[in-house]
C-alpha cells in the first residue's frame, strides 16, 4: 500500500483554493528523490484554471519525510511563479526547506554563464570537421618543422637532452616491443600464406606462396604492421607521457628553466623510434616469412629449405631496403604525432586519454596516407 501511494504523485500533491484568489499547494506523505518527482507543470495547469489565483501558498501539515526531491519540485514552482510575478508565501513550509530554498536562491543566476546548446546542421558539421582536419595537418607539419630544426641542432651538437632518457626510450620501443611484433607479424605471414595457398593450390603452384609472402612482407606488410603496432603501443605512450607532464606542469617547469621541451622530450623519442623501427621491420619481415614457411610445411608439404630458397629467389634487396626506408619514415610520423598530441593535451586527466587516442588515430591515418604516397612514388621510380 505504501509503495502504491508513493508511486502516485497525485497523493503527494493536491490543490485547493482557500479563497478565490489564493492557490494552496498541499504537500503530503514522503518526498524522496528515489520515488520520482511530480512535474511542477501540474502547478502551471492550476494557475491557468479560472479563477486565476493571485497568490500561492502551501499546506505542509501532512508532509512526512523529505529530501532534495521536494526542493527540486519547489524550485520549479518558484521559477514558474517568478516568471508570472505571482507572490508566493513560503512560510507554511518546514524551516529546513525554507532555509535551503533561500540558499539556492541567494545568488542570482549569472547572465551568460549558461552554455547554449549549439544547433549545427550536417553540412556545417562536415565543413567544421574538414577545417579541423586541415588545421591538424597544418599543426603536424609545423611541429615536424620544429623537430627538424631540433635535429639540425643535434647534428651540430647543440641539442640538450639526457642520454639516459634516450636509452630508456630505445629499450621501450625496441626490445620491449619484440614479443608483440613477433606474434602479430608471424600471424600476418600465416594469413597471407593461407590466402595464397587456397588459390595457388588450384593451379598446382603452391610453391609460389613463398614468393607471395616474401614479396608482400618485405615491400609493404612488414613496415606497415610494425608501424601500426608501434602507433598503438609507443605513439599512445608518448602522448600519454607528455600529456600528463603537461597536466602536472612538468613541461612548464622545463620551459621556465630555459630548457626546450622539444629538445629535451621530443628529440630522444623521435630519434629512438626512427632508429628502432627499421630494425623491428627487418625482424618483422623474417617473422612473416617464418609464418609462411610454417603454413608451407604443415599444409602444403613444402620443406622449410625449399621454401626459404624460393623466398630468397623472389625477394630483392631493393624491396627489403624500400620496406626499411618506409618503416623509418613511419617511425618519424608516429613519434611526431604522439609527441604533438601530448603537447596539445588539455589540463585534465580525461584530456590525457583523449591525447593518447588522438595520437593513435593521427599516427595510423598519416602512416596509411604515406603508404599510399610511397606506392605511387615507387611505382613511378620503377622499384
Amino acid at each position: 500500500m505504501q509503495a502504491l501511494k508513493q508511486s502516485q504523485p497525485s497523493d503527494q500533491l493536491s490543490f485547493a483554493r482557500s479563497d478565490n484568489s489564493t492557490l494552496v499547494v498541499r504537500l503530503a506523505g514522503d518526498w524522496h528523490l528515489r520515488h520520482g518527482l511530480p512535474e511542477p507543470d501540474l502547478v502551471l495547469k492550476q494557475l491557468d484554471t479560472a479563477p486565476k489565483p493571485a497568490k500561492l501558498t502551501f499546506d505542509a501539515a501532512e508532509l512526512g519525510d523529505w529530501d532534495s526531491g521536494l526542493l527540486t519540485f519547489l524550485m520549479g514552482v518558484s521559477e514558474i511563479c517568478h516568471k508570472r510575478n505571482l507572490p508566493v508565501d513560503w512560510s507554511p513550509l518546514p524551516e529546513g526547506v525554507r532555509g535551503l530554498m533561500q540558499l539556492a536562491e541567494a545568488v542570482p543566476e549569472k547572465t551568460g554563464a549558461r552554455h547554449e546548446a549549439a544547433h549545427t546542421s550536417f553540412i556545417e558539421q562536415l565543413g567544421g570537421e574538414a577545417i579541423s582536419f586541415a588545421r591538424g595537418l597544418d599543426d603536424f607539419l609545423r611541429f615536424l618543422g620544429e623537430v627538424a630544426i631540433a635535429f639540425a641542432k643535434l647534428a651540430v651538437g647543440k641539442a640538450r637532452f639526457r642520454r639516459v632518457d634516450l636509452m630508456i626510450v630505445l629499450q621501450d620501443c625496441g626490445a620491449s616491443a619484440f614479443g608483440i611484433v613477433t606474434l602479430v607479424t608471424f600471424l600476418v605471414g600465416v594469413i597471407l600464406a593461407f590466402m595464397g595457398a587456397v588459390q595457388l593450390q588450384q593451379f598446382g603452384a603452391a610453391i609460389y606462396v613463398a614468393d607471395l609472402v616474401g614479396i608482400a612482407m618485405s615491400r609493404d606488410m612488414g613496415a606497415m604492421m610494425t608501424a601500426i603496432i608501434m602507433a598503438g603501443r609507443t605513439g599512445a605512450a608518448f602522448a600519454a607521457q607528455l600529456g600528463s607532464m603537461k597536466v602536472t606542469q612538468e613541461i612548464d617547469a622545463l620551459t621556465t628553466m630555459g630548457i626546450s621541451p622539444l629538445e629535451f622530450l621530443v628529440l630522444p623519442r623521435v630519434l629512438a623510434l626512427f632508429l628502432m623501427i627499421p630494425l623491428l621491420c627487418v625482424y618483422a619481415d623474417c617473422m612473416g616469412v617464418a609464418g609462411g614457411a610454417f603454413v608451407g610445411a604443415t599444409m602444403l608439404h613444402i620443406s622449410v629449405g625449399t621454401y626459404i630458397r624460393e623466398t630468397a629467389h623472389a625477394v630483392t634487396l631493393t624491396g627489403i631496403f624500400g620496406g626499411v626506408f618506409k618503416a623509418a619514415v613511419y617511425g618519424i610520423i608516429i613519434a611526431v604525432a604522439g609527441c604533438l598530441r601530448g603537447f596539445q593535451c588539455g589540463n585534465s586527466s580525461s584530456a590525457v586519454g583523449d591525447a593518447a587516442t588522438a595520437a593513435v588515430v593521427t599516427g595510423i591515418v598519416y602512416v596509411i596516407v604515406a603508404c599510399g604516397m610511397f606506392a605511387f612514388i615507387f611505382n613511378i621510380l620503377g622499384f
Binding site: 640538450r160 637532452f161 639526457r162 612548464d252 621556465t256 630548457i259
Partner: protein, 282 residues
C-alpha cells in the same frame, strides 16, 4: 649532449649569479598595461605595477580572478593580448627567444604541485639545471643538489622519486630545484595550497629566509591571508568582477587604510559581513 656556454658560471666553475638586477638599477619587474585574454574573453586588463628589489610581492585576489594566469604571463608561458613585462631594462614580452631563454635562467619557479620530473630522483631533479647550465662535474652536481635539498629539510632523500614522497615534501623539493641556480627572482604559485597550517607556516619562514639570505626578489601568488600578512611587503589585488587590479601596495597598509570594500572584505575574511560575503562568493 653538449652544453652551450652559459653566463651563469665563474672561472672556478661554481654557479655564481652575475647580478642581472643591480640594487641601483631599474626595478627588477615592471608590468605595463598588461591585458590577459583568451580569444575574445578578457580576463584582466590594464595591469600596471612594479616589483622592487628584495620585495616579497603578493599577487592576491579571489578564486578565478586570474592570479596564476598573471604569473604564467609574467613567465612568458602565455603571451599577453596587450602590454609588456619588463625585467630590469629588458622587454621580456618583445624579446628574442634566445634572450628570453637566457633571462629565464635567472628565475626560479615553484609550481603549485611541485611539478617535479617524475622519471628522475630528487637529486637528479635539482641537478638537471646545474648539469645544463654550469660546468660542474657530476660529483660536484651531486654535492650541490644535496646541499639544496638539505636547505629545504630533505637531507637524505636524494635518491627518492617524486612519487615516493608526500605532497608537502614534493613542494619543498620543487623549491630546492627552483633555487638550484641561485636565482635572483623567485616565483611561487600557491605555495601553501594543500599544505597543513604548520607546513605552510614553515614554508613561509623558508621564503623569508631565502629573501634575506639570497637577496632574491620574490613573487608569490596566494590567497592565504596568514601568509599574505606574514611575508608580503608589496602586493597587487586582482578583482574578478571589474576585471582589473583595484589595489597595489603593502598588504598591511591596505588593511589599515584601503577604503575599497572589496579589498577590506577580502583582507578581513568577510569581516562583519562574513555570512553575506560567504554566500555571495562561496
Amino acid at each position: 649532449m653538449a652544453t652551450t656556454p652559459s653566463p651563469i658560471k665563474s672561472s672556478d666553475g661554481k654557479p655564481v649569479s652575475v647580478t642581472k638586477f643591480p640594487k641601483d638599477g631599474p626595478p627588477p619587474i615592471t608590468v605595463k598595461n598588461l591585458t590577459m585574454a583568451f580569444g575574445n574573453f578578457v580576463l584582466m586588463k590594464d595591469l600596471n605595477f612594479t616589483v622592487n628589489h628584495s620585495d616579497i610581492f603578493i599577487i592576491m585576489g579571489g578564486s578565478g580572478s586570474g592570479k596564476s594566469t598573471l604569473l604564467r604571463h609574467m613567465l612568458g608561458l602565455i603571451e599577453p593580448a596587450k602590454g609588456e613585462v619588463f625585467y630590469g631594462d629588458f622587454n621580456f614580452t618583445r624579446g628574442e627567444p634566445l634572450e628570453r631563454e637566457e633571462m629565464l635562467r635567472h628565475f626560479g619557479v615553484l609550481y603549485q604541485g611541485g611539478a617535479l620530473w617524475s622519471s628522475m630522483t630528487l637529486a637528479e631533479n635539482v641537478g638537471l639545471p646545474l648539469g645544463e647550465f654550469t660546468d660542474l662535474s657530476d660529483a660536484e652536481i651531486r654535492e650541490v643538489a644535496a646541499l639544496k635539498l638539505a636547505l629545504v629539510g630533505l637531507k637524505g632523500f636524494e635518491g627518492y622519486y617524486p612519487s615516493q614522497i608526500s605532497g608537502g615534501m614534493q613542494k619543498r623539493a620543487g623549491l630546492a630545484r627552483a633555487i638550484a641556480l641561485d636565482p635572483e627572482i623567485l616565483f611561487f604559485d600557491e605555495p601553501s595550497a594543500g599544505l597543513d597550517p604548520i607546513s605552510s607556516r614553515l614554508l613561509d619562514d623558508l621564503i623569508l629566509e631565502l629573501r634575506d639570505n639570497l637577496g632574491a626578489t620574490i613573487v608569490v601568488v596566494t590567497h592565504e591571508l596568514a601568509s599574505i600578512f606574514a611575508i608580503g611587503n608589496n602586493s597587487v589585488f586582482l578583482d574578478a568582477e571589474s576585471r582589473t587590479m583595484i589595489a597595489h601596495g603593502d598588504p598591511k597598509d591596505l588593511l589599515a587604510h584601503s577604503t575599497d570594500h572589496r579589498v577590506q572584505t577580502f583582507l578581513t575574511r568577510g569581516g562583519e559581513d562574513a555570512e553575506k560575503s560567504a554566500r555571495n562568493h562561496g
